[in-house]
């Protein structure tokens, strides 16, 4: 209520009372407060005597003082006896504060216990957003931190951690700088030093795409955590470390600890006077990966070397690629590498806008993208084993089928002639040799057979049966599904084209059968396909989690249980033929290529691939192989974007990974010049 109104009402009441009193008590009446009124006094003193006047007025004073004490007493009774509990509660609320304590985030280890991600304490200089208006302060801070003032200004302007939040200016500052800032706090108002626990990467950039990175929780994560808080017990505060990609994101609920609570007694200024009850923070659990650091490093180095090799050979546009190695018996991902890579430590303490833009840019090769699961390419010749299964299953071909390759195939008429990669022609070849020499003519025939058969989409059905066109279900976020094109897809995809161009043509089938055209697969999908070939149809779900261990207990609390992702039924004879063909690729296709594998004890089976893309781009080089061929254990796949022939790029990566697994480095310097695809 408006105080003026209250006062006005009070005033009105007082005035009315006064007027009434004056009217009622006209005359010379004085204050007597004499309850007894006209009763004669024992003393016999006159009613109007001065003595009586004083006496009654003093009685009035007694009433005045007595009622003051009475009112105060009544009010104190009400407050200290009746409502005491309520006030005591308020007093308790006043002096206690509950501070949530940070729970250390779980570590990430490789399968041998090598720390890939751990925590370390770090001193961080943070500034309030309004510091940006104080040029002198920025200059001071820049001098102390040894940074250019411009950099300090940009850090403070950066809003990635939230518009209102404190801006991280410098991470890992020295004790000396901290001491200086603390001692000269009057110069650095709005600037604080915080002790934080940061993610630490003892192996540097190793495993970056697997690990992912962390950051402050996003609005969605804050909301989601709030909704699920009752189940998980996890709650976020702005500034917390939360997984934003990779394993950090995938296993956030495992890695993230549960915040503890510390109740403290504080004074009016918020200083902590004493500690009351506390609930200990529960550390996040450690995640043990299936990754073998040694193999992983070989894969990453292999990619770097292979791309360097391609570039040295004159192809300067080659700048990215990926490789993956999986244990076919249980789906363990032994290595998973993507290039170009990034440093997860760039994200520690919040990544700057500039860095973020660089890491997401096309020109830089999109380093944040995990090409193993998100890179989609035509599979090229690596699809031929599946085309072979399709042909055998649908009766398009038999193991006895014979083909003649002249280098130029005109099965759909002269107007629609297509080259085999070997323009000179392979001559007479059978189905196995079609795989070994990757003879396109053989598969054009198969494609034509399908196109003209009652099962024109038998190829697609087979590809899908082997898991293409859908995600493998690996435990990483943002996996792509790839694409198995069919007539229906083509019709709805090219809506702008005329009906003829939109409808499925024979050429589409002959493209599809050799893995060109609109087929898209991820390196991980191809690795799974070859794992299935190696295991004769049992594809285990690829996974990175080996187990979960508590920080304190020791030993794993959860072990990942391998599961079969896909069981593919193929006839034994078909599998024998394909497996034999894939061994032939390694040892028979070209001498130079064979020389890289004959120096290993283990038998290898695999396939090259060279995916043609748009005419202005170099082809994508593929190599997928498994070993030992006689008792398969590992499948290794690599894909080099714009890397040219698979045998000249991806093959080296695969070989390096195999060498790391079996400790058998590649000793051959032979370079395959046969142009084999």
């Amino acid at each position: 209520m408006n105080p003026i109104v209250v006062i006005a009402i009070l005033l009105a009441i007082v005035l009315v009372t006064l007027v009434l009193l004056v009217l009622v008590n006209r005359g010379e009446a004085r204050f007597t407060f004499d309850i007894g009124g006209q009763a004669p006094r024992a003393s016999g003193g006159g009613d109007n005597s001065a003595e009586k006047g004083f006496k009654t007025r003093l009685t009035g004073l007694s009433i005045f003082s007595g009622s003051i004490i009475g009112v105060l007493f009544a009010r104190l009774w009400a407050m200290q006896l009746v409502s005491a509990d309520e006030y005591a509660q308020q007093a308790e609320l006043n002096r206690t504060r509950t501070i949530s304590t940070v729970a250390p985030r779980g570590r990430i280890l490789d399968r041998n216990g090598i720390e890939l991600v751990t925590n370390r304490p770090s001193l961080v200089v943070v500034a309030s957003p309004d510091v940006i208006d104080d040029e002198v302060k920025i200059q001071h801070l820049a001098n102390v931190l040894g940074m250019p003032p411009m950099a300090v200004r940009r850090k403070i302007q950066d809003q990635t951690e939230g518009a209102q939040s404190q801006r991280t200016v410098a991470v890992d500052v020295s004790r000396r700088m901290v001491a200086y800032i603390d001692e000269h706090q009057y110069l650095f108002e709005g600037i604080h030093v915080e002790e934080r626990v940061q993610r630490h990467y003892p192996q540097g950039t190793t495993c970056a795409h697997v690990i992912g990175y962390t950051g402050s929780p996003t609005q969605e994560q804050l909301k989601a955590a709030e909704e699920q808080a009752s189940d998980t017990g996890i709650s976020y505060e702005s500034g917390d470390t939360v997984g934003q990609a990779g394993i950090e994101y995938q296993y956030e609920s495992v890695l993230q600890g549960v915040r503890g609570e510390q109740t403290v007694y504080v004074d009016a200024d918020g200083n902590v006077l004493d500690y009351a009850s506390s609930i200990d923070a529960q550390s996040g659990s450690d995640v043990i990966l299936t990754i073998d650091s040694k193999v992983q490093q070989a894969a990453e180095q292999g990619l770097v070397d292979a791309i360097e090799r391609v570039r040295k050979a004159g192809n300067q546009v080659c700048n990215s690629g990926s490789a993956v190695c999986i244990d076919v018996t249980n789906g363990d991902v032994i290595a998973l590498a993507s290039y170009p890579t990034f440093s997860p430590s760039d994200f520690v303490g919040g990544i700057s806008n500039d860095d973020w833009e660089m890491l997401s840019s096309e020109e830089a090769g999109n380093p944040l993208m995990n090409r193993v699961i998100a890179g989609q390419y035509p599979s090229a010749s690596t699809i031929k084993p599946l085309s072979t299964f399709a042909a055998l299953n649908y009766g398009i071909a038999t193991s006895e089928s014979q083909y003649v390759c002249s280098g130029y195939w005109t099965g759909f008429g002269e107007a629609y002639g297509q080259y085999c990669w070997n323009h000179d022609g392979h001559g007479g070849v059978d189905l196995r040799q079609g795989i070994v020499y990757s003879c396109d003519t053989v598969f054009y025939e198969i494609g034509k057979g399908f196109f003209n058969s009652d099962n024109p989409e038998g190829l697609q059905e087979t590809y899908r049966r082997w898991g293409l066109g859908k995600a493998t279900g690996i435990d990483l976020p943002a996996e792509s599904e790839g694409r198995v094109p069919d007539a229906e897809w083509k019709w709805s995809y090219f809506t702008q084209a005329d009906d003829y161009a939109r409808s499925w043509q024979g050429g589409d089938t002959t493209n599809l059968v050799i893995g060109q055209g609109d087929l898209l697969v991820t390196p991980l999908q191809m690795a799974c396909v070859y794992a299935g070939i190696a295991t004769r149809g049992k594809i285990m779900r690829p996974h990175l989690l080996k187990g979960v261990a508590t920080r304190t207990g020791g030993g794993t609390v959860i072990d990942y249980e391998s599961e079969v992702a896909l069981t593919v039924e193929e006839q034994d004879a078909s599998l024998d033929l394909v497996q034999s063909g894939l061994q032939g690729v390694i040892y028979e296709e070209s001498e130079a290529q064979a020389s890289h594998f004959t120096n290993m004890k283990e038998l290898v089976a695999g396939k090259t691939g060279t995916a043609e893309r748009a005419s202005d781009r170099e082809p994508t080089g593929w190599f997928v192989a498994y070993l030992p061929a006689d008792n398969p254990r590992y499948v290794v796949a690599s894909c080099i974007e714009q890397g040219g022939y698979g045998s000249e790029s991806a093959m080296y990566v695969v070989r390096d990974i195999m060498g790391a697994i079996y400790d058998e480095p590649d000793t051959s310097n032979a370079i395959d010049t046969s142009g084999v695809r």
Partner: protein, 407 residues
């Protein structure tokens, strides 16, 4: 508690003793008035509760000094010692001399109030400039504290002239007019709280001096109207702002504590929490979280009652009110019995001052009164108040000692 009652006890001081007095009889038959030994010269019913109150206050200040740096127990003891010396002087001094010194008293009151404005004497603290620093000694005091007592003596000496009956309006207006002089001078300090005490105590003296009821009611009406006008104009933009913003804020918060202009609502809320959370027995010395941890501002001065109520609970509050009640009613009882109108009116003024300060100070801690900077007599930290209050006690004792027919 029987001390003030007409019907107190079988041999009470009631009608009999009183009439004896009023007739001017020389006999000392009234038991209280014929007291022997020390009670001949000391009015124990008033003195004992006062000394207990001072002791209680020292205990509270000592406990406040445990957590509040500014609350120096030693300085408080020095204040008490100085106050006792001053009280002794007052007690020895024959107060009756003052009855005919109204002019001198008026001059003294005016001088006290002007002193802070004199260069070399003025000293500011806590937004109130009404402090005096005695040169050379360096001792500081608030002249408005002794001015309260001087004004009471002044008004009593004037009022006593009429022997219980103010016959003419001219006399009445003269009394009211003279009262406004010290009141306005105190307002210039600026110290509205003390000004109000002086006004209320002076008004009580005028009323008891025998002012006709209708005149008094009209005067109160005019004063209330005037005060309201002052508040309203101060709140209205464009009109002269007589009240300072902080004074307005206190009024606003009193009407609606949920608003919080410049923390006044917070202070009130914290004081109430302190009092209420004390409960029945209190939290004990040194365990007061509200005052000990700084939530309660000015816990050793203006809000000392809240600190006491938090540490000693309802029991402590009751003891405090009981001691105040005992000394107040002992003083009223004395006023009933003494003969001289001057003594009566002095006692009226002193009792009104204590009662009003008690209401104002305790009332503000429990949300009954607006926040003002009025100290709790005998308890609050601060020497000026302590000395002035103990001088008032000396005055009461002097009235007892110099009663005409005793001894």
């Amino acid at each position: 508690m029987a001390l003030f009652s007409r019907d107190a006890g079988p041999e009470g001081i009631g009608e009999k003793a009183h009439t004896t007095f009023s007739r001017g009889a020389g006999s000392a038959r009234g038991p209280k008035m014929s007291a022997t030994g020390i009670s001949q010269i000391l009015y124990l019913p008033q003195l004992v509760p006062t000394l207990l109150l001072v002791a209680y206050g020292s205990l509270i200040i000592w406990s406040a000094s445990l957590t509040i740096a500014e609350a120096s127990f030693t300085r408080q003891l020095v204040g008490i010692a100085l106050g006792l010396v001053a009280a002794y002087a007052m007690w020895v001094y024959d107060y009756r001399t003052l009855a005919n010194m109204s002019t001198a008293l008026l001059v003294a009151a005016a001088l006290l109030m002007i002193l802070p404005k004199v260069p070399g004497f003025g000293y500011s603290a806590k937004g109130i400039t009404g402090w005096v620093r005695i040169p050379i000694i360096g001792l500081r005091f608030q002249p408005s504290e002794p001015a309260k007592l001087v004004t009471i003596l002044l008004m009593a000496s004037l009022g006593a002239q009429y022997n219980g009956r103010i016959e003419t309006l001219r006399d009445y207006l003269k009394l009211c007019g003279i009262l406004t002089i010290p009141f306005l001078l105190i307002l210039t300090q600026p110290d509205l709280g003390t000004g109000l005490i002086v006004l209320v105590a002076g008004a009580a003296i005028i009323i008891c001096a025998g002012a006709p009821r209708s005149w008094v009611l009209v005067t109160i009406g005019v004063v209330v109207l005037g005060a309201t006008m002052v508040v309203v104009t101060s709140m209205t933009p464009g009109l002269p702002h007589v009240l300072k913003q902080y004074q307005l804020n206190r009024l606003i918060v009193f009407v609606d504590p949920s608003v919080d202009p410049s923390n006044n609502g917070y202070n009130l809320q914290q004081a109430k929490i302190a009092v209420g959370s004390g409960g029945f027995f209190g939290k004990g010395i040194g365990n007061a979280t509200q005052s000990g941890s700084g939530f309660l501002p000015e816990a050793h001065t203006d809000f000392i009652f809240a600190l006491m109520a938090e540490e000693f609970g309802f029991v402590g509050s009751t003891v405090l009110l009981g001691l105040f009640g005992a000394m107040i009613f002992a003083s009223i009882s004395l006023a009933q019995r003494v003969d001289s109108p001057f003594a009566k009116l002095v006692l009226v003024g002193i009792v009104t001052m204590w009662s009003f300060q008690l209401l104002q100070n305790v009332g503000m801690c429990i949300g009954l009164m607006p926040i003002t900077g009025i100290p709790l007599p005998f308890i609050s930290f601060g020497s000026s108040s302590m000395i002035a209050q103990l001088m008032s006690v000396g005055m009461v004792q002097s009235i007892w000692r110099h009663r005409p027919k005793a001894a």
